[in-house]
Amino acid sequence: MATYFLRRLLLLIPTFFGATILVFIILQLAPGGPLEQSIRQIQMGGMTGGEGASAGSSDLTSGGGAGLPEEAMEELKRFYGFDKPIIQRYLIWLGLWPREYETRNVEFTAGQAETKKNMGRGRWVTVKRTSAGFEIVNEDGTPNAEWLIRPLDSPDESIEKALVYKTKFSGILTGDLGTSYTYMQPVLNVMKPRFKISIFFGLSGFLISYMVCIPLGIAKALRHGSPFDLFSSVVVFIAYSIPGWALGAVLLILLGGGSFWDVFPLGGFRSDNWEYLSLWAKIIDQLYHAVLPMIAWTIGSFATLTVLMKNSIIENMSQDYIRTAFAKGLSEKRVIWIHALRNSVIPIASYIGNVIGVLLAGSYMIELVFNIDGFGKLGYQAILDRDYPIVMGFLVIAVLLRLIGNILSDFALATVDPRIRFK
């Protein structure tokens, strides 16, 4: 049992590295990345539309930002980390290679031997150029150990450039997911509020669907072939034929007040004035906003779960041990709820872990339709904006959730099935 879990954990390590490396490489090599995007933005700003708008992305990648000063290009590249080889970038992202930060440029004109630089907070250092390289000296003349320096390529022979910087190990392994390009905030900070929203929908959707589907599945199994079963089967088929987001869209059109009834709000997680409502009104407002998305949410797993439960119960009700239980003179209720149900939740138990992943990432379409700022929508938007730190953070969290989901599944399985426990 313990070794089994351990094996599970160990097997996740290659997956983690494999997935992150693969995505990292694709991200870095893909055209139209953040670098090109910001170059385009700068160009568009400079040229006020005009031909800049027609510039295709292909021309950007090859040309490397025509019209942009070389220096600004270098600056941008450094900002996005594109000045280093890809392996190094990945190691930096992991936190196994020092990350440069608080960078500053220094320039030496021909013959200039030293220059003063403001390092912030009113401190100045002197950067000296010697034959061996560069040297940083404090104001009082002692060598400075805090800052590092490295030479930069310079297009102009007469001017020598260098970069003064600090380093630290800061990456995924030290818990730093980086800083978002679009929000200019640490990725975790960007994610946190959205996480809450997704968890709200995910958890309550999960609970609702389990609370509806399991009893429904049981009832359908026990009345197999009855009108109730036929009717609910049709409902289940209908539910299976509409993707959640599509149902959401239809509900919005019908009940969102556009062309038909005006019952529910058009979207969003809460009203804008939510902060100022009384507690009761807050709850009502929250529920009011949640109804439609929740229906869309639940419909996704509704059909699958119900049918799974029904088939599982039917399967188990024809097993021999059920006959034994009846032969003991047990009541039907007891046989179903104590003997059949426990065996029937085994497939459901292994499904639980799966739900966790879907809980967060699988719902971006619904979040888009209802305009809810959830986790999925964040990921989607990040992909559109080429906000790589968020994309990579999203991936890391997805892999972690998968791990947790797997463990949860195994745990749930082991709880209901002793045969697994004793393996």
């Binding site: 997956t15 494999g18 088929f237 039917i314 499904y351 989607y380 989901g405 599944s409």
Partner: protein, 368 residues
């Protein structure tokens, strides 16, 4: 025991297959029996007939629903625009740039005896937009445009029906492509087992974590994806589901006597896989096929909705929805395509359910 398998099984398909079903040796007579059973399940069988008819008919849509006339008689000469294609307007003495406007032509010819136009059943095409005189943007559903027009004045009903053909063809091709890859890789994993299996599993796990949408977006920023390219890309991600079933199936079948016999007779692996085990593992392929088609249609509509699907102006359901959702009052732009998708998927669900039932040897039994 592997949760991985269990979970993926339950997500992909609404119904888990019964392993007993697969133990049965599939031979022609068995398939025939299953077909008879399928036929006896009326809901599924009729759905199949309806869907098949609709799909076949949809290939002849240009004859039924088009802005090009079927026959034009002008100055004693016959023209067949549907077959001939583009005919400039001035051929018929029309004062329009580009192609003839046959609906206007028809109106005009009413007063000129001898000249006439026969239009298709529904005289609007999926691609003609506001540049054609008479078309308006966002026209409400009515007798003229049954489901209204879209943001560029194209007829929604016509686009809907053309979209049906495209979506279904897309999903079927996608499913076949994914199954070919998924089945062969899954089969090899199950058959060879050992290290190959372990490494492939890792690879699949890694591959499955790739943000698919992201790859889509990147590719669509390099090349404009067309129908076939989109199938290729989706296949890259769609083959995974089938490997789980095939792997389990082959694992089980491999241990059976007939495989040992084949090996002892010195048959090659390829022969054993394709001639012996595969026919016996057909059941999951057949029973999951309709549900995979459903998945294919849903993902196409989803991608079109996000704007990363088929290139415009391809008639597509998702693209219509995304236009319609921008303002809540263009209800027909949302309800019509989603209704069409829903009906199509419902028919396929009925078919899939009937197929599953036909292949399911279980009898419902209940003690009291």
């Amino acid at each position: 025991m592997s949760t991985q398998e269990n979970t993926s099984q339950s997500t992909t398909v609404i119904i888990t297959a019964d392993p007993k079903a697969t133990q049965e040796q599939i031979s022609l007579s068995v398939l025939k029996k299953r077909w008879l059973k399928f036929k006896s399940i009326k809901r599924g069988y009729y759905s199949f007939i309806i869907l098949l008819t609709a799909y076949i008919l949809s290939f002849f849509l240009p004859l039924l629903i088009s802005n090009r006339a079927v026959v034009v008689k002008y100055d004693g000469q016959y023209y067949f625009p549907i077959v001939q294609g583009y005919i400039p307007g001035n051929t018929f003495g029309e004062d329009v740039p580009g192609e003839a406007n046959y609906r206007e032509l028809k109106e005009r010819f009413k007063s000129t005896p001898g000249n006439w136009v026969i239009m298709p059943l529904y005289p609007y095409g999926p691609l003609e937009d506001v540049t054609v005189t008479g078309n308006k943007m966002y026209e409400q559903p009515g007798a003229k445009h049954w489901f209204g027009t879209d943001n560029t004045g194209r007829d929604v009903f016509a686009r809907l029906l053309y979209g049906f053909n495209i979506s279904l063809s897309f999903a079927i091709l996608l499913t076949i492509a994914s199954y070919i890859i998924g089945v062969s890789i899954g089969a090899m994993m199950g058959y060879f087992g050992g290290k190959f299996d372990l490494i492939s599993q890792r690879f699949i796990e890694i591959w499955a974590t790739l943000p698919f949408l992201f790859v889509m977006i990147i590719i669509s920023s390099i090349v404009r994806p067309n129908f076939f390219l989109l199938i290729v890309i989706l296949t890259l991600f769609g083959w995974i589901g089938m490997t789980y079933y095939m792997r389990a199936e082959f694992y089980r079948e491999k241990t059976k006597d007939y495989v040992a016999a084949a090996i002892s007779m010195g048959q090659s692996h390829r022969l054993i896989i394709f001639n012996h085990i595969l026919p016996n593992s057909l059941v999951p392929i057949i029973t999951y096929f309709p549900f995979s088609v459903i998945g294919g249609i849903s993902s196409l509509v989803g991608l079109d909705f996000l704007g990363f699907g088929l290139p415009p102006p391809t008639p597509s359901w998702g693209q219509m929805v995304s236009v319609g959702l921008q303002s809540m009052v263009k209800y027909w732009m949302v309800l019509a395509p989603l209704g069409a998708m829903f009906l199509t998927l419902l028919l396929i669900v009925f078919i899939g359910e009937a197929i599953r039932e036909a292949f399911d040897p279980r009898v419902y039994s209940r003690l009291r």
